[in-house]
């Protein structure tokens, strides 16, 4: 079976601005694939390139193995769900869902039948005759999904469709989208700047920054094994300490930092003398009163400046000697008091060393 979508050296430029640079990617059929990145990183451009609204400046987009160059969005086997949904307000819910079928000249009775089934699928069976404006946010969302599914696309493209919903509904819709994808079995390509959405829903995630796909992998690998400083700091919270590598051994490396010598994993193979960044997740940090022996950790001292209790977790912000702020997330136990000086420690295997980009 051919891959659902293949990007082969795709570049998109607008004048001097490079929106997407050298995207090479294969998205498998039936996958829930997310593009994750901050706004302006080129993810929406890439989505519009796949759907056919933008022709790549260089490179090819293949869908189901077929080259899509010169094929407009109305003749591609994709369906796009817009950020604002773009439902047709002058049509009823049923007419909205049936629009793609009507365009394709599907006979009325057949169309009605299909629309009815789709309405049941998205739990809107009673709402077919209503105007779109009479629906709630979540219901509109489901109409948009049904409208896109009606044309039986090979690939469903979703452009941050949940961003307009409130938190509760957003979390509910995540599960629902995932369930729909499992049920219909087609490829979903999802665009988001919300790492929570990407991590919970996706089979695989492509993290994008400034037009470049920095890393592709499943949620776990993107979170636990970031390969670039951008991915490390964008996906989840991360503390970042600059320094220079002084020693390398057994997959670990020692970094000389303003806070002292710190040790972390060295997956990208840095050698001594290189400028590097050390990343430690807030939840990997442990806080103990200064002077207490702390086993196999490395660390430094800091003063707690803010303690934010959130119920299940507590976020502690600490100021270290250099003035930098370090965040630690504690699961429970004894909570430090604001103003207290603490030893911040972590196990070397929880520290991650990555090359410092030249530009920074």
């Amino acid at each position: 079976m051919a891959a659902a979508v293949e990007l082969d050296g795709v570049n998109v430029t607008f004048g001097d601005f490079i929106a997407v640079r050298d995207a090479n990617l294969t998205i498998e059929a039936g996958e829930f694939f997310s593009f994750l990145g901050p706004s302006g990183c080129g993810k929406t451009t890439l989505l519009r390139t796949i759907s056919g609204f933008i022709e790549p400046t260089r490179g090819t987009v293949r869908i189901g193995g077929a080259d899509m160059s010169g094929i407009g969005p109305n003749r591609r086997p994709t369906a796009l769900i817009f950020q604002n949904l773009a439902l047709f307000p002058m049509m009823t819910v049923a007419e909205n869902i049936g629009y793609g079928l009507r365009v394709r000249g599907v006979p009325r009775h057949e169309r009605d039948e299909k629309v009815k089934n789709l309405l049941i699928q998205v739990a809107l069976a009673e709402h077919g005759h209503k105007k779109v404006s009479e629906l709630s946010g979540g219901q509109k969302q489901r109409v948009a999904i049904a409208r896109a599914l009606a044309v039986e696309p090979k690939v469903l493209l979703l452009d941050e469709p949940l961003s307009a919903l409130d938190l509760k509904l957003r979390q509910h819709m995540r599960a629902e989208l995932r369930a729909i994808q499992k049920r219909v079995g087609i490829t979903f390509i999802y665009i988001t700047h919300d790492q929570g959405e990407a991590l919970t829903m996706s089979d695989r995630i492509a993290v994008m920054n400034a037009g470049v796909i920095e890393q592709v992998g499943n949620g776990r690998s993107v979170y636990a094994e970031p390969r670039t400083p951008f991915v490390a700091s964008f996906v989840g919270e991360n503390n970042q300490i600059r320094g220079r590598v002084t020693a390398v051994e057994n997959g670990l490396a020692t970094l000389d930092t303003p806070l002292g010598a710190l040790v972390g994993r060295n997956p990208v193979g840095l050698s001594a003398g290189e400028e590097a960044l050390l990343f430690v997740r807030p939840e990997a940090l442990s806080l103990v009163p200064t002077g207490t022996p702390n086993g196999s950790t490395v660390g430094f001292d800091g003063e707690a400046v803010d303690v934010a209790y959130e119920g299940s977790v507590t976020h502690v912000t600490l100021r270290v000697r250099t003035g930098q702020k370090i965040t630690a997330t504690l699961g429970g136990g004894v909570l430090p008091a604001s103003g207290e000086t603490l030893h911040i420690g972590f196990r070397p295997q929880d520290g991650l060393l990555l090359a410092r980009p030249a530009s920074r």
């Binding site: 109305n74 796009l80 950020q83 773009a86 047709f88 307000p89 002058m90 365009v103 409208r147």
Partner: protein, 338 residues
Amino acid sequence: MGATGGLTLVFGLPLAVALFFFALSAYERRMGLATGPGFFQRNGLAVGLYLVLAVGFWVFFVIVLPQFSMVDMSFRPKLPPSQMGGPKDVFTLENYRYFLFGSTTSTASWNWIHLKAFALTIGVSIAITLFNFALCYPIAFHMAQSAGAARLRILLLLMIIPYWVNEILRAFAFRVLLSSGGIINKLLLGAGLVAEPIDFLGADIGLYMGLSYAYLLMMVFPLYSAIESLDRNQIEAARDLGAPWWHIHLFVVMPHAKPGIASGCTLVFMLCAGALAAPLVLAGPRTLWFTPIVYDRFYQAFNWPQGAAYAFILLVTCIVFVLMVLKMFRLSLGEITR
């Protein structure tokens, strides 16, 4: 009516209107019908009173009274000034009878000349409205959805600047352009496309062109503002769902722009049917447009009551026609003002 009586009317009537509104607002307040701060509470008594008086004055003396007096006049016989208000000044339908039968007394034969001119005016106005819509829709769509800011500015200027030239001058310019010795005929002759000059003016082509052009903006702007408010994502969504371009226009853009379409068409139709300059200057010698007939009733025949009746017939016909069309497209009058 004496001088004091007239003065009483001029000042008393607006005052009476103001008092009426004041009483109405007080009544609604007491009955709990009105909510929020009242009109006079919001604006203060002085400003509120001024607003009511000024607007009342404007509406009554500038809009209602002249129209009403024309309607009143249309139902009276033509009389020398000395007999006005005399025993012969009675209400009559003779002016309307004249329009239909060409005589104030007999109903034996139809007034074909005027009836035909009337039908022609309405018919051609409809045709020009449709033509203008067909012409302006693509322009408006381009301006609203695809043109960049710079292009939009240039297009707007190109459309507005020619309107600085006054209407009569423009009509004569068309005459010059389209005459037998005009530049268009010269070009056609020079290119060998025609053997002898085409009589554009005699065939009324000049009239149609002049009328279409005169009200172009009246069509473009309502369409533009209606289409401009359409979310471009809707067009893209339709395209993404497989719709060809004509389907998108017919079933996505036009339904959205319906109020703008209705308002543009209403304006163009009304103005076309009531146009005077273009028909006077550009109509062919064999064409009789209705507005010049009305004009002639007033200034050639010196029959103001008949002129008033003719004008009133045109007005009522146009309003009825427009309301019928709005009804057909399931639009309320309020919607076209959006």
